[in-house]
Every structure is written in C-alpha cells, then in structure tokens.
Amino acid sequence: MNSQRQSPIYRSRLLQPADERSPDTHPLTWRLRDDGQVVGLEEYESKEGYQAVSQVLNERDPGAVIAAMKEANVRGRGGAGFSAGLKWSLTLQGNNIPRGYIVCNADEMEPGTFKDRLLMEQQPHLLIEGMILAAFANNARYGYIFLRGEYVESARVLTAALAEAREAGWLGPDVAGSGFDFDIALHTGAGRYICGEETALLNSLEGHRANPRAKPPFPGQSGAWGKPTVVNNVETLCNVPAVMLRGAQWYQELSGDRTGDGGTKLYGASGLVNRPGLWELPIGTSGRELLELADGLREGRKLKAWLPGGASTGFLLPEHLDLPLDFDTVGKEGSRLGTGLITVVTEDQSMVALMRNLEEFFARESCGWCTPCRDGLPWTVKLLLALERGEGEAGDVELLDKLAADCGPGLTFCAHAPGAAMPLQTALRHFRHEFEQGVGQPKGKPHADAIPAGQV
C-alpha cells in the first residue's frame, strides 16, 4: 500500500484537551484520554468510577434516585428533552408488577449527530454505571444496549467493557454486595433510522419489523414483552452517575444562569466549518459560541441557516446565533434543540437541494406504516426535485406547504413525519423565494443519479 498518504480512517474525538476538563465541570468527559484510547475498568474505577453504584445501591432507596434526577432536571439527550426523572417516576413498580427493562437507545442515526459514539467508544463504563443506577431506580431486572449495526467500534468496546464489569461484580447477581441483581446484553441492529423511535426500537428489540407502537400505553407501563420499560439515550444515562455522586444542585448549577435546564451537553458542529467537532459545554451555550469553537466557516463563507440538532429540527437563522441552546428556548423559535449538534448551511448552498436531500432521507427511512408519511414524503421529494431542476409547476410550493402540514404532529402514527415536516416548513418560511425560483424555469438537470425514494 502507498504509505505516502495516510488513509483518512475516521476516529471519534473530543476537541477539548484533558487539562481543560475537570470532574466538577465536565461530568461526561473529564476522564477521556487525550490519546483517544478507551478508559478501561481500572482507570475508570480509579477516577470515581462505580462509586455512585456502590453508594446508591447500598442506601437502598430507589425513590431518592428518581427524586435527584427530577431535581437535577436532566432532560432527555436523545432529542426530545423529556425530563428523565419524570419519565422514571412514571415507570410502573410495585408488588404485583413484574420487574422490567432498561433499554439504552444507542441507535444514533439522526443526521448531523456523532456524540453517543464518543461516549461508547472511549468511556463504556460510564454508560454501564448509568444503566445500573437507572435499573435500580426503576426496579429493572435486565438491560439492553440497542446499538446501531454500523457502530462496529462501539460494539467491540462495549462487549469488552460488559465482560469486565461482570467479572468485577458490577453486573450480575448481588451488584456491589447490595442484593440487587442486574445484567446487560448488547443488542445490535441492522440499519433503519426509525429504530431510534422508542417504540419502534422495542419492536426491533423483540425481533420484529421496526414499526412504532401506539401510545399509550407508554413503555414505562408496557414496553419490551409487555413489561415496564425505560428507554433512555446514551448521553442521558451517562449523566446519572455524576448527579448521584455530586448532587442535583451541583448539576443544576453547571449551566449557570444560561438556562433552567441542568448540566452540560455534548455540543457539536458540522458542515462547512473550519474545525468540525464535539465539545462538552454547559447546556445553554449559544450557536455563536459553537461556531467560534469551530473556527468559523470555511474560506470566508457566510452563514445562511443552521439546524440546531439534526435533520428533524427546524432551520434557524444567523439572527438566532445568540440564543441559549436549551430545549425551551429553541422550541420557542419554531425548532427543537434535538441532539444539540448543529449543522451549518452557507450562503452558497441551495436550500432547495438541501431540502431535497433531507426529504429523500426521511422518505427512504419511513417505515411505511401510516399514509401521510409513506405517501406524503416521497411526494415532497418529487416536488423538490422538480423545483431543484427549475421544472416546478405553479402551485408546487403551496403543495409542499400542505404536505408538510399534513405530516404535522398528531396527524401521523409517530414522530418521524413531523420530524420531516419541521425542516421543510421552516425552510419554506425563511427561504420561500428559493423554492419559488424553481417554478417554471427549466435549466437542465443538476441532480445526477437521483435516488428514487423507496427503491434503495
């Protein structure tokens, strides 16, 4: 092999050196090594690892764990922002209720999102510890890490870490001498974005097609195999040990006076920025701060728009750069914080082409269960392709409005189609002229090799 040029093997990395991270300010990443190697069991234990499990399980008060999580206001880091403590408080528990499951949603597939990979590849024991604490609080008997199939490195690291934890007595019968028994299996998927929807994930876990389930009942009442089941994102679970060890008040104060949400967040930036990457920052950090950390846009480009947290969030504008990126603030601007990893769009990039790409994604990834999603999304792709070629017809832009509205919240079986509608509606609102320019102005075929929706 030609050794003159290094093959660009991708490695997950945090763009903050170890000396900028401390246990008091960076609960998720302070243990990560500058060389990017896995923090193994020994190193993890020497850095407060599993202390929260020893302490909490032997205090034997699951209610206190839920109360602390509520007070810390840890909001779901998978994108929905639902209070983890509140979710846990709704899990059915009691003498006549069978013990259920903790499921870690590690199906990271939201376009623009690359954060859970880092936590799993470099610090697997933090996730395992978080799951043990979650299991204790929710009286779960068993845990699953539902990992997307493409995350091969995560699977390798997690498999080794689970064996280490079992060997050391952190998993299995009588965890840490507390009398509580709990173990975890790694479950890897085989593609399909819809698996990240928590009820579709449960169907997939059970070995079915990943169609979502009707809610209610919510998983906390009836989840995997009809048992009470808690589904939490990787990053959410990774916050639990620090909350238990350092306290809800400390956690809440990490975000200072930026926001009411507590803690830190793995934020990131991608697109045409000079230094795309990932940082652990107080929740409520602004888009401008992220762009500064990313060293601005490449080659003097100008910012046109940005997605705050993945493909299923609404477009924000340069004027929104100073807003604190927390769940409520971004929600008030017609978008969602989502996963908190921003994607930037520059002035020279076409919103119509980008929307076509996004809707091709959502159309392809629709599970096909309900009509607005199955039929509506491919229709938006057809319209957007025509507009992109300048071959749109009068009324096409208005038809996009209607299709997006018909895919809105409450009109479809799950959140997939509303997730596809939000970027489309915000793009139509902010950049309508770009779409209107595609009506009746044939200019050839810029989009070579279109991917027919539903046929890939």
């Binding site: 092999m1 376009p111 593609g191 070995g207 995997a224 795309p276 991917i451 890939v456």
Partner: protein, 169 residues
C-alpha cells in the same frame, strides 16, 4: 386454503445452517424473553458466513427460533443492512445524509461510481465491491464519510480513494 407451514415442516431446499451458527443462534436467544428477539442477529450470522441471506435460510432460521417463516422474512426485508441478494466481497456504504451532503457526498459518490463503474445498489463485475447509500454514519465531523466493511473513513477526498480501495482486495 393452504395450511400455514409450521416450523417443523418447512422445506429448506437443502439449505443447512452451519452448526456453529445454529448453536450461536440458540445461545443468543437466552438473552431474551422470547427467541424471536434473536432474529436480526441470526440473519447477521448467516450473512457473515454467506455474504448475504439466501431465501432458503429464512425457514431454517425460523425453525431455530420457533417462529413462522413470514416473521423472519418480514424482518429480513425490513432492515437495510440485511442483504437479500449476493453482494460483493466488500460493501461500501456511502453516507448521503445532510452533513455529508453539505460537505460533498454527491461528489464522493460520483468519484466512487466513476472509479468502480457501478451505481448505487450495484456490484462490480469481479464481485469485489457493492456500493450502497447509508444513513448518517455518525462521522459528520469527518464528512464526507463512508464505511467499507468494519472501517469508517472521513473526510474522504477523490485523492484518497485509490489507497483506501487498495486495502480491500
């Protein structure tokens, strides 16, 4: 009306699961309340051994899991990383999601297409590579990204392709 085949009497047209795979499938079922949950893993085992999942493997897996073949077929046709027709020795997954789109995934796909002489969903005549699109690979800080076998690459420029592909004979 035809009787629904039960797991015991399905014809598997001479397809035999490898004994190691069958044992591994049975072991996998022990992690779950119901054996069907091992379905994706069972399909992946067949795929690891054969490169893809032939039709005849479906009833064979169904018999191990104790479910009807339609359940296994439903799963096998739903998930994009389960291949139902032969693929090349190496499958190239090119990320086509938004961050990579904005950093040049269309160009990357075109370079691959030109170099390999195949489009998405196709396999080279020598059976070496199959080219497929994939959802966001979670490597957006390295866009445009792609995956070959178990390896993720990014950012990939045209000038990198020769060396990268050379590693997959």
């Amino acid at each position: 009306m035809e009787t629904t085949p039960t797991p015991q009497n399905i014809a598997t047209d001479g397809f035999r699961l490898h004994p190691e795979d069958e044992a591994a499938m049975r072991a996998e079922t022990s992690h779950y309340e119901q054996p069907q949950a091992a379905c994706i893993e069972a399909l992946k085992m067949v795929q690891r051994r054969h490169g893809w999942v032939p039709d005849e493997a479906i009833p064979a897996i169904a018999r191990v899991l104790g479910v009807g073949p339609a359940s296994v077929e439903g799963v096998a046709t739903f998930y994009s990383l389960i291949f139902r027709q032969p693929v090349g020795r190496h499958v190239i997954l090119v990320c086509d999601s938004s961050s990579c789109f904005l950093t040049g995934s269309d160009q990357l796909r075109e370079h691959l297409t030109n170099r390999l002489g195949i489009g998405l969903g196709q396999t080279t005549a020598d059976g070496r590579f199959t080219l497929l699109p994939v959802c966001c690979l979670g490597a957006c800080d390295g866009g445009p990204a792609m995956m070959i076998g178990d390896d993720v690459y990014g950012p990939v420029g045209e000038e990198d392709l020769a060396d990268i592909l050379e590693g997959y004979p």
